[in-house]
């Protein structure tokens, strides 16, 4: 479902990503972990085409983005790609001038040109799915952080994306809500979505990801099945990150 090969990204003369390659099978969850500044958020932004890559290529669903493409056609393809890839940003970026329902139906109605009534019915179902059945007519500013996040998820799902990208989904959540979110995301896999979740919270990724990828300094240090990475990492840097995290968690 996702293939990345030899991806490199520079910004302002600085190398942000270096020779990144990985694959994600359809219907699986990849967790990308790493300290802040490791390049994991930039990698996510490359995956939905917001950042143009400098070297290598990537494929998400049916769209391939190659670093050799001229900027104009790269952008056109990136737009095509984003119709199949939903993104939930760390800061969510709900549309404050639209109601919760308006946020969800905006893209299906105006991008996909679907019938409003049909999209609204579906939006109400999505709100039930994320546990916000009564929030349709409220405005983002009146919602809690956790509620806003679930609206952002429903908004992404309304486009029927094959792939869902999450950037630091637990950053504003308490442990109880993190657990709830994890089961919600897990349920998306059974609905046929492929997920990539960027997080520095190993505990959250542990029960969610099928595979884990550890990044440091813009490079993939290690990747493999979740259990193997967490229990017997091969690279000392991975071990160090895991040890540090569990020490922090227990403190």
């Amino acid at each position: 479902m996702i293939s990345v090969e030899g991806l490199e990204k520079r910004k302002g003369g600085k190398q942000i990503l270096r020779n990144v390659s990985f694959r994600v099978e359809a219907g699986s969850v990849l967790g990308i972990m790493g300290a802040s500044g490791s390049g994991k958020t930039t990698l996510l932004r490359c995956l939905n085409g917001l950042e143009q890559i400098d070297t290598g290529w990537l494929q998400c669903a049916s769209v391939t983005l190659d670093s050799g493409l001229p900027t104009k056609s790269y952008r056109r393809r990136a737009n095509e790609l984003r119709r199949q890839v939903g993104t939930v940003f760390q800061h969510l970026y709900l549309f404050p001038h639209l109601s919760v329902l308006g946020n969800i139906i905006e893209a299906p109605v105006h991008v996909l040109k679907r019938m409003r009534a049909e999209v609204e019915t579906e939006a109400h179902e999505l709100l039930r799915l994320v546990g916000l059945a009564d929030a349709a007519s409220r405005y983002p500013e009146s919602l809690s952080g956790g509620e806003q996040q679930r609206v952002a998820i429903a908004r992404a799902l309304a486009m029927h994306p094959k792939i869902l990208l999450f950037d630091e989904p637990t950053s504003a959540l308490d442990p109880k809500r993190s657990t709830d979110l994890r089961s919600l995301l897990r349920s998306f896999v059974t609905r046929g979505h492929t997920l990539v979740v960027v997080s520095h919270a190993i505990g959250f990724l542990q029960g969610l990801s099928d595979n884990l990828l550890y990044m440091e300094g813009g490079e993939v240090v290690e990747q493999g099945p979740t259990a193997q990475i967490l229990q017997s990492p091969r690279d000392p840097r991975t071990l160090d990150f895991i040890m540090h995290d569990s020490a922090g968690a227990s403190a």
């Binding site: 939905n48 917001l50 737009n79 984003r82 119709r83 890839v85 939903g86 993104t87 940003f89 800061h91 969510l92 970026y93 709900l94 549309f95 404050p96 001038h97 905006e106 893209a107 105006h110 991008v111 996909l112 983002p140 500013e141 908004r155 992404a156 486009m159």
Partner: protein
Amino acid sequence: MYAQQPLGWGADPSGGAPYVFPDPANPDRYIGYEKEMVDALAAAMGRRPEFVPSDWETLVSALERGSFDVIVNGLEPTADRARQILFSKPYYIFQLQLTVRTGDENIHSLADCTNHVVGTLGNTAASRILQRDGIPYRGYLDPVAAYRDLELKRIDAVLMDVPAEAFYARDNPHLKRAGQPFERGLYVIGLRKGDEQLKAQVDAAIDKILADGTLEGILKRWKLWNEAQVELQARARAGQSGDELAYNLTSITFNWREALIRLARAALVTVGIAFGSMLIAMLLGLPLALGQSKGARWLQSLCTLYVEFFRGTPVLVQLLFLYFGLPTIGLAMPGWLTALVGLGLNYAAYESQVYRAALEAIPRGQWEAAYSLGMTPVLAFRRIILPQAFRVALPPMTNDFVSLFKDTSVAYAISVWELATAYRELANASGAFLLLGVAVSAFYLAMSLPMAHLARRLERRLTKGRTLGVEAEA
């Protein structure tokens, strides 16, 4: 030389030929038949003439304030002026002349003008006649502008005192006289109430220069001597006072009912110009803002040039340029349209900066969230960014509208009949500066206060609704 007491005299030298005007050969010097006449009068009185250049419309109030001792500027002894100032004996009998474009075959006399706009100087016997006869007219600040607008077809005829007509229009091949000079009126010298002693001196001096032929010589040099003047001279030589001379033309009084109707019309024009130019500013501001922040480099420079030009030069100068400058390349707009377009172009520069600030106030993440849902840049702008930016821009836009509303008063410079022009002309004609001032201010406030209130309310609502963006960014 013995010490002479100066005799301060006020007149409007701008477009003031042949009365008093800057010498084209030496602009620091003033010439004109009245200048020469005052020199003769002052010599007869044993005083040194001292010219105080002033503004025709405010001559009476300047005299009352003591800016000078006498008004010598082709002043007509009207009944309402008589309540404010003293008049000397008449020194000249003037007539009126109607002028039209050379090719005009429809207008032969004032009677043909009921459906045409006639230009004249504001607050003159001519303007009172037009008002009395119910003929639509525009008051100008000087004859030059009136005759130019006649040539440019902004108006259809000009009614002017013969001396000015003779100097400015008679030799112009594009203009011709419609009918003969008609009506008769008097020119007198204006003095402050209570200056009876000075009046006696001035009257004696007028008698002297009328009787001894000094004035005749001056008027002949300026080609202003005619039959009517002979009558005046004969009276002076016979030792008769000219006081009982009172022609129709100079006894027309100020009509309050008419004035209030004209004031109401001025209010409508002001509102029309304000709304019209705000619409232009709002529509033109958006492409300017987009061009400046998102356009190609040449487009950015072009938009920046536009903004800096219109913000960096006075709106008054821009209006004068549009009104007097553009006709030379064949684009002559009527005054109200010039004001509407000029203010619109000017405020577009300000609105573009309001929009730009508003667009920049929307977090980059809003664009990216829209892109991530498959939106194209155009769709993201229209559906996501613009509605949010509009909310941010609304309070400053409302404030700008209040400013624009007040700025419509610069249209006075191009003789548009809006509130400021109306105030100036009606107050000068009636002397009711205080009363009309309160009325005009009340009208401006009735518009601007509610708008300012609305701006504050919008601002409060906006800061309330904005907390989300701030939280999400933190």
